[in-house]
Amino acid sequence: MKSFQSLPFINLIKKPVRSVALMILSAFLAISAFGGTIAVMSLQNGIDSLEARLGADIIVEPYEAATKGSFESVILQGNPGAFYMQSSVYDEIAEEIDGIEKMTAQYFLVSANAGCCSVKVQIIGFDPDTDFSILPWVERSYSQELGYMDVVVGASVEVSTSTDIKLFGNACHVVGQLERTGTELDSAIYCNIDTIKAMKQSASVKQLVDYNGADPDKVISSVLIKVKDGYDIDEVTGDINTHVRGIKAVRSKSMITSVSGSLSAVSSAVSVLIGVVWVLSVIIMSVAFSMINNERKKEFAVLRVLGASKSRLSGVVFKEALMITFTGSVIGILLTLAIFALFSDALLSSVGVPFLLPDTMTILILAVVTAVATMLAGALTSAVSARKAAKADTGVILRGDN
């Protein structure tokens, strides 16, 4: 009886090619389900993360930058960029527009790919007194106030905290690293208004940045606005565009919606693909199990003659299928995890849209669900052939009439 218990395992070991082929098929099933679901969830997470990270209802940018899509280019394509407008725009909006709850200015600068800078990177300066967009994220990794020449780096900037990096000849102290957002904002460096002003001056002296003749201290790159409850965001956006010249106010949601629109098409395509792969794999598996069991008819008949009951025989076939699909799904899940974990930055750069992997618990739950689903698919397909194998007439098979 004991030998019957180890029979499924021995069968798998003794037929390595057959076992490996079926494991690869199961792994493929797991990769398509697990990888596809993670990809779709990561795209959605990226969009949610971008929305949360911007934190503003309206973004005001220089008119020329808006027509060129410079702001989107910085955030979505990860192309470092800098654009400027007079800082008086900020005061104009504050004075003339109703319905503004919070408002803050941001300053963009791009470090040079030269000896004065450790790396070419997007630098974003913010005003800690008014900021509501960056500071909540900074506070998660650095609880103290950002000092002069202190910088916080995005998750994609590979530098340890407490080290110094050189930006326009200034030694900047890295005090913290932000959590990953899955957006191109992970590749930026953040500092306060005094630090960015000093950097702008250094860049101006070195003639690395052109402010079109304006005073570097009197330019800003964008204004982020949070609208008061009860006010219509579209109306406030329209008001700004009507009353302030030389700028363009856009609803941040409309910028994100254009990305999420194209993403939903991608997500649907991936979902359909997962379904097709699953149907095909289940059909192939069921055919494979049926063919294999058909070839093993004599082996099953001998086992029946040796005293194995019908239920024990189908149990052996069922256990074999479970072992194969379990190993295959584990291999598939581990491989998918390794690829997503290692190539996430490459994926982010290549897809050009926010891409943020789900948290560990979600991934774990997904992995378990995928493994169970794969095993269930294998078990169901093998169950049919296991039943057939058990029901076959032993005498007929051993005589070779069938």
Binding site: V119, E158, S187, L342, F343
Partner: protein, 130 residues
Amino acid sequence: MMNKRKISIMGLVSAVFSLALLIGSLTFFKSVCGADMHCHQANTVITIMGAVMLALSLIAIFLKSKVGAVLSFLTTVCGVVTALIPGVIMPLCMMADMSCQATMKPWTILLSAAVALFSLINGIICIRKK
């Protein structure tokens, strides 16, 4: 008969992964960050290690004795060391979206780990057969 086939297959798989690492480090997964960047030195060392592992794996395929086991374990050590080259032993560029960080590093880690794993299995099979 069974063991003989297994030894060859594991050694062969290890050699195939070494070859993939070598080809990748010279083509699709090579660092293109700029000639004066640190990552180019790391890229060169990874290519050399890929060639060394390929040679060791190929010899180990045909040796099923004690020498085969020693060569396989040596390949395992090389695999572990190679996986640690990008970012740990040798510095790479600062930005995670640069080619050395985004593609060369993960490719090297994935392939070196695979070479190390299959060489280790090959070495263990060689010892058990002895």
